[in-house]
């Protein structure tokens, strides 16, 4: 199928600003789903609130646009009620890690078979550019006019520590890598976290004089390196990309079905 066959074009144009990275993520998520040959009826996309969370409305799947931070709580309900469905949660960094941080760590701990695609643009876009838990120290936002004095999460380490069995990071510059990683994450049986660094030229870029969307994407190219690469060894400050964690661990909805089986046979 063509990418447009997965879209609800009736609701276009979408709301994202020119240069926003989220459209790239949406397109690559569609390509990953196409690559896996999943049927549209089998996919539920659940989001919270924010720029990235508007994605489900444009997608021709079962789509649920919920409350700020609560995508994974709703998604847990969907998955546990119908474990055969593929449930994907596109989220923003504020949505997933501030107001929704608790649900993220508990979904990780349970290792429930959901795919969390966290679009990290280091800022709250929908409300006009406030600092998020992913805004790097010293960066400017509308609520940190002289630079934030808070430290950001390392999402990869957070998800790993909380027990997610698949953890990866990529960027909007690395489109092919993103498709591969998202496909792997969806296929993975367990809780999968994919951090996608996604540019917000309108707020984060403008406040921090990072140039155009293209300039910001070039920074993703220059500022990152594959895990364990020579480039990373030579430049230790670069942010690593790739799959950090890929483990087989008991998956929650499967464990629950096994619990039912134990009761039925006993």
């Amino acid at each position: 199928m063509a990418a447009k066959d997965y879209l609800r074009q009736r609701f276009f144009p979408q709301i994202w600003c020119p240069g926003c990275g989220h459209g790239i993520v949406m397109a690559n998520m569609i390509r990953a789903i196409e690559r896996l040959r999943l049927k549209k009826d089998e996919i539920v996309v659940v989001s919270g609130i924010g720029c990235s969370s508007r994605m489900p409305g444009y997608l021709d799947f079962h789509t649920l646009h919920t409350l700020h931070g609560r995508a994974l709580a709703f998604a847990t309900g969907v998955k546990m009620a119908r474990p055969e469905l593929t449930v994907i949660a596109p989220m923003g960094d504020g949505d997933a890690l501030a107001i929704g941080g608790n649900h993220l760590i508990h979904a990780s701990r349970r290792n429930i078979d959901l795919t969390a695609i966290i679009m990290n643009n280091s800022i709250y876009g929908m409300t006009g550019g406030q600092y998020s838990p992913m805004t790097p120290f010293g960066k400017r936002t509308t609520t940190a006019p002289s630079g934030t004095i808070e430290h950001s999460f390392d999402l990869v380490e957070l998800a790993r520590g909380a027990g997610a069995s698949f953890v990866a990071r990529t960027t909007t510059y690395h489109a092919k890598e993103m498709i591969k990683i998202i496909a792997k994450a969806i296929k993975h049986k367990g809780f999968a976290v994919v951090e996608v660094m996604s540019q917000c030229p309108t707020y984060y870029g403008r406040k921090n004089k990072l140039g155009s969307a293209v300039d910001m994407m070039k920074r993703y190219k220059e500022g990152t390196a594959p895990i364990g690469s020579k480039k990373k060894a030579e430049h230790p400050d670069l942010i690593e990309r790739g799959v950090f964690v890929e483990q087989r661990r008991p998956e929650y909805s499967k464990s629950y079905l096994e619990l039912i089986d134990r009761y039925v046979t006993s």
């Binding site: 659940v46 709580a73 969907v78 039912i260």
Partner: protein
């Protein structure tokens, strides 16, 4: 057939009622005095193929049941005051998205952490207006364990009929009290099943297109119709809209579908009301003391009666107004500072004749407490 008679706690009866109505998915978080519901369901649901999950908090519990309901199952969560406060945003989401769901709030003393193990009825207004924005809501209650069972079944039926969230507003006393309960045989009480769309695959299904009879047939997530659900103001497709007309029609629909049927949704019981000069109005456990006092006074020839409300929201205003007509006094008995009393005053022709007998100190209101006020308003001194 042998009647299924059991001796059980209110919280157990709520579980039995939910299972009778077809509960399949439960998400909860421990909190006094509703914890038994969560504990019992953790044992029962996996045994009968249903789903139980203990979530990380009450917010997540409420969100999880909404997600599960959209896949086509009957769902419930249970909590108490502080947890009910946490659920308010998601309660509004269920109202806005019209997702059938049932929330049990076993009330305890508040505000704040309040009196966790004490009886109270202080969440009446929170049930009505706890979530933000104009909306309507259904809240049912019960004064004994048998009725806790029956009202729980009714909550599921109303949730499916009106495609909405229903609140079961019980209190600590009824939840923890043990009484005889007759569990009806399957089929003895009507159980309303989900109304699903007859729109065939390949034809456009509009999840928010209201039928002529006011109902909205659903389609399960995972089924053949793929549609959008959002807590934003939305059109018939379920897609966000900022159009004033769309917003006006949607809010009107959400309110009217319940408020226009308030007296049809109404559940109440009457005791000695026919010739009563003084009418008591009560609900939940406090109706037990009210009834005790009424029976005691009747033995002495005093013409008092009791109207026991079993549905609080939408407020059965027309019913209450009619029942209060011609009485010398109306005495509202409740365990809060007059949350239903104010509603009664709004609907009666002589609000100056409406009085409040109440307690809000965590101590169960006694027949003597109510009698003191009755004597006072009848000029008999304290």
């Amino acid at each position: 057939m042998q009647a299924n008679v059991r001796f059980m706690q209110g919280n157990e009866a709520i579980v039995e009622g939910a299972l009778y109505a077809g509960l399949h998915f439960y998400a909860g978080y421990p909190i006094t005095p509703s914890t038994e519901i969560t504990e019992i369901l953790s044992e029962i649901l996996p045994r009968n193929g249903g789903t139980f999950i203990q979530m990380e908090d009450e917010i997540a519990s409420m969100c999880a049941i909404i997600g599960a309901s959209l896949t086509g199952f009957k769902v419930m969560t249970a909590t108490s005051g502080p947890g009910f406060s946490l659920m308010q945003e998601a309660i509004g989401y269920a109202v806005m998205t019209e997702v059938p769901s049932v929330v049990v709030n076993v009330q305890r003393g508040g505000p704040g952490t309040g009196l966790p193990t004490s009886v109270a009825q202080g969440d009446v207004m929170q049930a009505r207006w706890g979530t933000h924005g104009d909306h309507s809501i259904i809240a049912l209650t019960a004064s004994n364990v048998q009725d806790a069972f029956l009202m729980t079944v009714e909550a599921f039926n109303l949730a499916e009929t009106f495609r909405t969230l229903v609140i079961l507003l019980f209190d600590e006393l009824v939840a923890h009290m043990r009484e005889k309960v007759v569990i009806p045989q399957p089929g003895e009480i009507e159980v309303v099943e989900r109304l699903r769309t007859s729109v065939p695959q390949g034809t456009n299904y509009h999840p928010y297109l209201v039928r002529e009879d006011g109902r909205l047939p659903m389609s399960d997530f995972g089924g053949v119709h793929r549609y959008n659900v959002t807590g934003l103001v939305h059109d018939m497709w379920g897609f966000p809209s900022t159009d004033g007309k769309v917003a006006y029609d949607l809010i009107h629909h959400l309110v009217d579908k319940l408020e226009h049927r308030a007296d049809a949704i109404a559940h109440y019981k009457e005791y000695f009301t026919e010739d009563a000069e003084v009418l008591l109005i009560s609900y939940g456990s406090s109706a037990r003391s009210a009834l005790d006092m009424v029976e005691d006074r009747r033995k002495r020839g005093v013409k008092v009666g009791l109207l026991e409300l079993q549905s609080l929201w939408p407020f059965p205003g027309e019913t209450v107004r009619k029942k209060c007509e011609g009485r010398s006094h109306v005495l509202v008995v409740e365990m809060n500072m007059g949350q239903i009393c104010q509603e009664v005053k709004k609907v009666v022709s002589k609000p100056e004749n409406v009085f409040l007998a109440n307690r809000f100190d965590g101590v169960f209101i006694s027949p003597a407490d109510i009698l003191r006020l009755l004597n006072m308003i009848q000029g008999k001194g304290v």
